[in-house]
């Protein structure tokens, strides 16, 4: 579950999920809705993403930055996560994901918000009382 929150000079996502894998998946859904609103996207092609970091929060920044990189540099539109695995290996958090998407088509994909950076502003993944997780991510636009 995610919610898009609007600030004066930027935009934020509030994400809740039952486990960390779902938190990352939900965050990617939120990112897509923020950027493309209701533009139709298709799973024409699958890509692998492998990331690691000593901190889960930093991994989340890297994860969303990767989707942004696909769009702004590779001109490739993220459709959805097909698979996410997240685990701690020694001191590092490791993420393995398969994401589907397609080449950017300006006729169909309208970019509603240009995310310039995923920030660390007050970024903290918190455990909720019900045993799930929540996080608030602020984006520079």
């Amino acid at each position: 579950m995610f919610k898009i929150l609007s600030h004066t000079a930027d935009i934020a996502l509030e994400v809740q999920a039952a486990n960390l894998e779902s938190l990352f998946t939900e965050a990617s859904r939120g990112w897509k809705e923020m950027v493309f609103e209701d533009s139709e996207t298709r799973p024409a092609e699958t890509r692998s993403v492998r990331l690691s970091s000593p901190e889960a929060e930093d991994l989340l920044v890297q994860w969303l930055s990767e989707l942004n990189y696909f769009l702004t540099v590779r001109q490739w539109v993220f459709h959805q996560c097909e698979l996410v695995s997240l685990q701690r290996s020694g001191v590092m958090w490791e993420l393995d994901a398969q994401v589907s998407g397609e080449a950017l088509d300006p006729a169909r994909h309208y970019i509603y918000f240009d995310i310039k950076a995923v920030t660390y502003h007050q970024l903290e993944i918190k455990e909720t009382n019900g045993g799930g997780y929540q996080v608030r991510i602020v984006f520079d636009i």
Partner: protein, 487 residues
């Protein structure tokens, strides 16, 4: 003189437009905020930017004051409109004091043309600019994609690369802050991913609040300074606002990670993770400084190539000779940067690292770094407003060296979120609304136009007035928009 309260802290007015936050809760120096009383009350009420002035004052090695300009608003780590100088031995460097868009800045170009004669050609001119200057998300292809070798040269040499490749004149370099090149740049410290984001982006505007605007000089406040800058009433001028594009953002992102680890390593307590920093003389600090300078050079090359493309647009649309067009750079300033500069610290001149985040260098007359042609009037300070009202040209004054580490304000600041601005714009013909204000717009998407409508911004004239009153920068001219291209 008034006293206002922010979270139990007494903020004292010490001058008509100057307020002091006393050093409390771990602050190493006091905070100093430039604002009139009404603005100050709004700042206290509106957001958390004063808290950020306080946080910055806690940075190791900070000198004299944590300063905020009248366009202060909440940013990541430092407030936007924040200025801090740190000691080279004891102090730190923080990417949060520079911002994501390294060397975001403003360039003003004058022409020999009068708006009254050009009004009828405005649509054609705007279309031509839109054709030659790529705008919008991931915009690319203004010039052929850079090779790896060329990218290294751009990062090393900035505007000088433009000069060597026919995109700049010698005069352009003279009229650019630092002559458009920070020699401390080290392209090896810029990641491959950052370079990848930049190969195709030299000469592109991007999106968000970046723009290229045709403007008319509506009012002159200081005839001698306007004359030195080559400005006259009714003149058509062009303003460019943009920065280092994806490359600069990636450098900031990369080094926030490096400097977060460095903060732990060097035992620096951070009140906010976005204030991640490292000692200036540490390896991590030096690497960030080298990469930041390279990104700054990239931004100068970007604005210079945009100017080159714009000249081509004018010539194509108007079929005009170089001499009749008179396309000359007035000045180019950066407002997101950290630089080594000499300043008076307790009566002694000392080199310090000045962080300016949403603040413009404003060196006074006779300062050795003020270009010779402006030596008698002061370095030009360019302050964009919003696309419906006005922007300003000012010149640096003596008080800036004594009071604000040679810095002035940088712009208006938002008053409405982009989301809200878009909601408010639904069902409206924004282009028609702007046309009624006398402004022709061409943009890649209407969303950006909606985000940037004048009602989304504060009135920049109040900000400029405060700096004028403080003796930091003196008003020279008011510019009103006539044509805009955006992402």
């Amino acid at each position: 003189m008034k006293t206002l309260t922010y979270n139990d802290i007494k903020i004292e007015q010490v001058g008509e437009v100057t307020w002091i936050v006393p050093p409390v809760r771990g602050m190493r120096v006091p905070g100093k905020i430039y604002a009139d009383q009404r603005m100050m009350e709004e700042i206290i009420k509106e957001d958390e930017s004063i808290k950020q002035v306080i946080n910055v004052a806690m940075l190791p090695g900070i000198q004299k004051y944590s300063i905020a300009m009248p366009d202060i608003h909440w940013g990541y780590g430092f407030p936007i409109g924040g200025v801090a100088a740190t000691d080279l031995e004891e102090g730190v460097i923080s990417p949060g004091g520079v911002g994501y868009d390294i060397n975001c800045g403003v360039r003003l170009v004058r022409t020999n043309l009068e708006y009254a004669d050009m009004k009828q050609h405005m649509e054609k001119l705007v279309q031509s600019l839109f054709k030659h200057v790529p705008t919008g998300v991931g915009s690319s292809g203004a010039i052929p994609k850079l090779s790896q070798k060329e990218m290294t040269r751009v990062l090393q040499n900035g505007s000088r690369w433009c000069f060597e490749n026919g995109f700049a004149s010698r005069e352009d370099l003279e009229c650019t802050e630092e002559k458009g090149t920070l020699s401390s740049a080290n392209p090896d410290y810029v990641s491959e991913r950052a370079k990848e984001r930049g190969y195709n982006q030299v000469g592109t505007l991007g999106s968000g609040n970046h723009f290229l605007e045709l403007e008319m000089v509506e009012e002159i406040y200081d005839a001698a300074a306007a004359d030195a800058l080559g400005l006259f009433p009714g003149q058509l001028v062009m303003m460019i606002h943009c920065g280092s594009r994806g490359l600069g953002h990636q450098v900031c992102e990369d080094y926030l990670r490096v400097l977060t680890n460095a903060s732990h390593k060097y035992g620096i307590h951070l009140p906010d993770r976005q204030l991640a920093c490292a000692p200036i003389k540490s390896d991590e600090g030096q690497r960030y400084l080298g990469a930041m300078a390279a990104a700054a050079n990239f931004a100068w090359a970007n604005r210079q190539v945009i100017m080159h493309q714009a000249k081509k647009s004018f010539q194509e649309a108007l079929k005009i000779s170089d001499r009749d067009l008179g396309f000359r750079l007035v000045y180019d300033v950066c407002h997101n940067i950290a630089k080594m500069e000499e300043h008076d610290i307790d009566g002694k001149m000392k080199t310090v690292c000045v962080h300016r985040k949403g603040a413009t260098r404003a060196f006074p007359p006779h300062h050795p770094l003020t270009p010779e042609k402006y030596r008698e009037v002061g370095q030009p300070v360019l302050i964009p407003g919003d696309m419906g009202r006005y922007s300003f040209v000012a010149v640096g004054q003596q008080a800036s060296m004594l009071e604000s580490f040679g810095s002035s304000c940088h712009g208006a600041g938002r008053v409405k979120s982009r989301h809200q601005a878009k909601k408010d714009a639904r069902g409206k013909d924004l282009l028609d609304e702007m046309k009624k204000l006398g402004v022709v717009i061409q943009a890649r998407g209407m969303a950006t136009v909606a985000e940037e409508m004048p009602s989304a911004y504060k009135d920049v004239s109040r900000v400029v007035e405060v700096m004028h009153q403080a003796g930091i920068s003196k008003k020279v001219a008011k510019l009103v928009p006539a044509g805009v291209i955006k992402g």
